[in-house]
Amino acid sequence: MSTRIVVPGEIVGSSNYIAKGAILTRPDGKIVATRVGLLRIKGREINVVPLAGFYIPERGDSVIGIVVDYSIVYWLLEINYVWRGRLDVPDFTKRPFDASKEKPEHYLKIGDVVYAKVANVERGMMPILTCREKGYGKLEGGRLISINPVKIPRVIGIKSSMLEAIKNITKAEMRVGANGIIWIKAEKPEIEELVENAIKRIEKESHTSGLTKRIQNELMRGMHKIQRGGKK
C-alpha cells in the first residue's frame, strides 16, 4: 500500500481501478482527485482521503450538537453544518409529549450539549436528529473540542484503535461526533487538557504514519506527570 498527497486535478489512475473518496471519473476514463487528500492504492482500489473539508451530514451519523433555539415541540441544534439540526421533543424524551402541559425547556435548555443520531437528511434542507437509540442523549459536564470533520476517522482510528488507546490510558469518557465535535470528561481538568492537546495533534498530523504510537507515548508521559504531581 502506498500513500502520497494529491491535489485537485491530479490524475490518480484509469478506469480499470475501483475508485472511491474525493475523486471524479473523466469521460476519457481517467480518475482525477477533486480535493487535497491522501491517495491510497491497495490492489485495484484507489481511495482519496480528503485532508481538508467540512461536514455534510449523512443518515446514521452520530453527531454532537449544542441547543441554540427551541419551539414548543422541537429544539434546534448547532451541528457544524449549513443548517441546524431539528430534534423533536418525543425523540429525546422517548415518551409522548403534550405541549399543552410541558415545555421543551424542562428537558433541554439553550446551551445544553446533546449526543444525537442523524435520522434523516435531505439535500439542501434541515437534518432531523434523534436520541431514541441507546447511548444517545444529553452530555453533562466535561469539555468540547472542535476539529476539522474530515479528521474524525483518524481520531477513531482503524477498528477504533486510536479512540480505545486514548480511553484506556486516560480513563476519560468520550463521545466523538462525525461533525468534528468531540466531548471528553475526565476525573481532573488536567487530564481533559491532555486529551485535548492529543486530539489537536491528531488533527495536525493526521496524514503521517505511526501516529497512534506517538499519541500513546505522549498520553502515557502526560498521565505519569499528572499522577506524580497529584501525590506531592
Binding site: V7, V32, T34, I56, W83, G124, S209, R214
Partner: protein, 246 residues
Amino acid sequence: MRMSEEEFAEYLRNNKRVDGRDFFDPRPLRMEVGIVERAEGSAFVGMGRTWVLCVVRGPMECVPSHLADPEKAVLDVAYRMATFSTEERKSPSPSRREIELSKIIREALEPAIILDEFPRMMIRVYCLVIQADGGTRTASINAASLALAHAGIPMRDLVASVAVGYYEGKILVDLNAIEDEICADVPIAMMPSHNKITLLQADHRFPLARLRDMIEAGRQAINKIYDLQRKTLKEVYEKIARDIGE
C-alpha cells in the same frame, strides 16, 4: 511609474522588456496558503509586484435567500482593491470595474468547482488586491483556486491564469502595469490537467491569426504557475511530516 509609448516601443525594438524579463517569462511568483486562521481556506499570491490575498468561506446558507439554487451551490466572488494598492488612492466604494471583475473571476472559477454537491448553499470568495501592478484579475484567479482547494471544496482542477499581450508583432507574457497600458491584453485562465480554457478576454486590437500563438505562449506560463500551485498545496502537509521526522 509611467512610460510613453515611444519609450516602450524602443525597448521592444531592442528585443527587451521594460523589466528585463524574457518575452515568455512570467514574473517572479510567490504563493502561500492558510495564512488567515479564521477562514476555511485562504491564499496569498504574488506575481511580481501584484499581490492578492484571497479568503474562502463556506459552504454557508445562501444570503440573500432568493438567490439559493435548489440544484447547486451559488458562488459569490467579491474582488476589491485596497485603497493603498494603487498609485493614487482608490476610493473604497466598489467601482464598476470591481463589480465587473468579480463576475469575470466567478465565471473563470465556476467550471472548475463541483457546485452541484451543495444545493441551496453559498460559497464566498473574497479577493483583496493589496498591491496592483497589472494582472490583478489573473493573480486573483490563481489565489482563489488555491484558497478553494485549501478549504477542501471539491474541484475538477485548479485554475491557473496569466495575461498575454501583443504589441507590434511581439508577444509578451504576464504583463505588468506599464505593458498593460500600452499592449493589447488577453487574460487567459485554464484548467491545465483537463486542457480547457475557462477565461479568454481581449481588449485593444491585435491580428486574430496570432491568437493561437498567444494562447500557446500563455499555456507555457500557466503550466509554471500550475506547478507552483500544486507544490504550495502539498507543501502544507509535507512540512508537518518533515517536522516530526518521517
